[in-house]
Symmetry: C2
Subunit: 213 residues, 2 copies
């Protein structure tokens, strides 16, 4: 891809405020975006997440009041609720190691050093209380990658922090589970009525946010 | 871009462990990646960050011991230190609003509602202690987008949380400023010696991380 095509996609993207509720993302396009979620990098490769993909109209409507009545949640084609571990359980490390052995081969003994390091990291995060924040940060990697991936395929998105996680968890059956709703990303097609779609993008001048050393 | 080209780029990317210290990213490619950082979406569009781009060999070497001696910090072509607001100052909201007016026109009066909402958000985050975490999350959007942008241009990256922020801040002259080092992303070219470059990617099976509703 050329630098200029990349910048076109980044400039085409905006936080879509009004989706066209009549348009659905074709299955083959969605399959690629779903795969892009699966391929998201994460710290230690731990993938402390589940991505809920909601297309059911009734369920999306139920979530709207818990997202400050923002219609994007219901009018999008696919609503992605990025959920992350409240407190990543130690078993999750073992699941990750089993997967490493499936994909790359190797033995539990050979991965012992890795397991110990990650288990120490996990324990420290649980004791000091930052493990949930760490998992949530990983979801933001997914968010950043997903928005660009979607834009490259001419799919609109809207990153959303404006919702009530506890209420989302309740509606989605996550209360009392290991996972909690961290950030939302509806995806679909912009409506022609969305005046934000034609506004110039507001970013600080590069001299104010980039510092060369 | 086709779905298959997108997936190729995502599969080509990996966390580069050994960079080729002899290869530098060409200026025009770097200019596009720098622009991609500037274009990163953020909550409310507030961009609570500065991206330090370090090419100076001596400075990169000085940082290595504070990044668990990981050589990527020095052997990359461009080291991006993503710094975010410790506690986003209220003046930052005004700077953002001035920029909105520069780019889109409008008046302070017309943007009063937006200002009040964001100032309330900021104050709540300061009082409850989550404002710094929120800013750091925004850097992870930048990280996710940047890694994919780089991969599309065939530039290797390595997301890094393994460093001592206070030490980085000290070396980079950030101690006592509004900004702190949140996450690193060296960029450059993989070395042929990097055995990780040829290992298959480990991701959970999609049925374990994607849930359709």
């Amino acid at each position: 891809m050329t630098a200029s095509d990349l910048l076109s996609a980044l400039n085409w993207r905006y936080a879509c405020k009004v989706f066209d509720p009549e348009r659905a993302i074709p299955d083959e396009t969605w399959a690629a975006l779903e795969e892009s979620l699966v391929l998201t990098p994460s710290s230690f490769g731990l993938q402390p997440w589940k991505f809920l993909v909601i297309q059911d109209a009734e369920l999306k409507e139920k979530l709207v009041p818990h997202a400050w009545n923002q219609r994007q949640v219901a009018d999008c084609s696919h609503l992605v609720v990025m959920t992350t571990h409240r407190v990543m359980p130690e078993e999750h490390i073992d699941a990750n190691i089993r997967r490493m052995m499936e994909v790359r081969g190797g033995t539990p003994e050979g991965l012992m050093g890795f397991r110990q390091m990650v288990a120490g990291f996990r324990q420290s995060g649980e004791e000091k209380g930052w493990l949930g924040d760490w998992a949530k940060q990983q979801a933001y990697i997914a968010l950043g990658q997903f928005m660009l991936a979607a834009a490259l395929l001419k799919i609109d998105t809207c990153p959303m922090e404006g919702f009530v996680p506890a209420k989302f968890d309740e509606v989605l059956g996550l209360t009392g589970t290991d996972y909690t709703s961290s950030v939302l990303c509806p995806a679909g097609y912009r409506s022609e009525d969305d005046r934000y779609g034609v506004l110039p993008k507001v970013r600080f001048d590069s001299k104010d946010v980039i510092e060369r050393r």
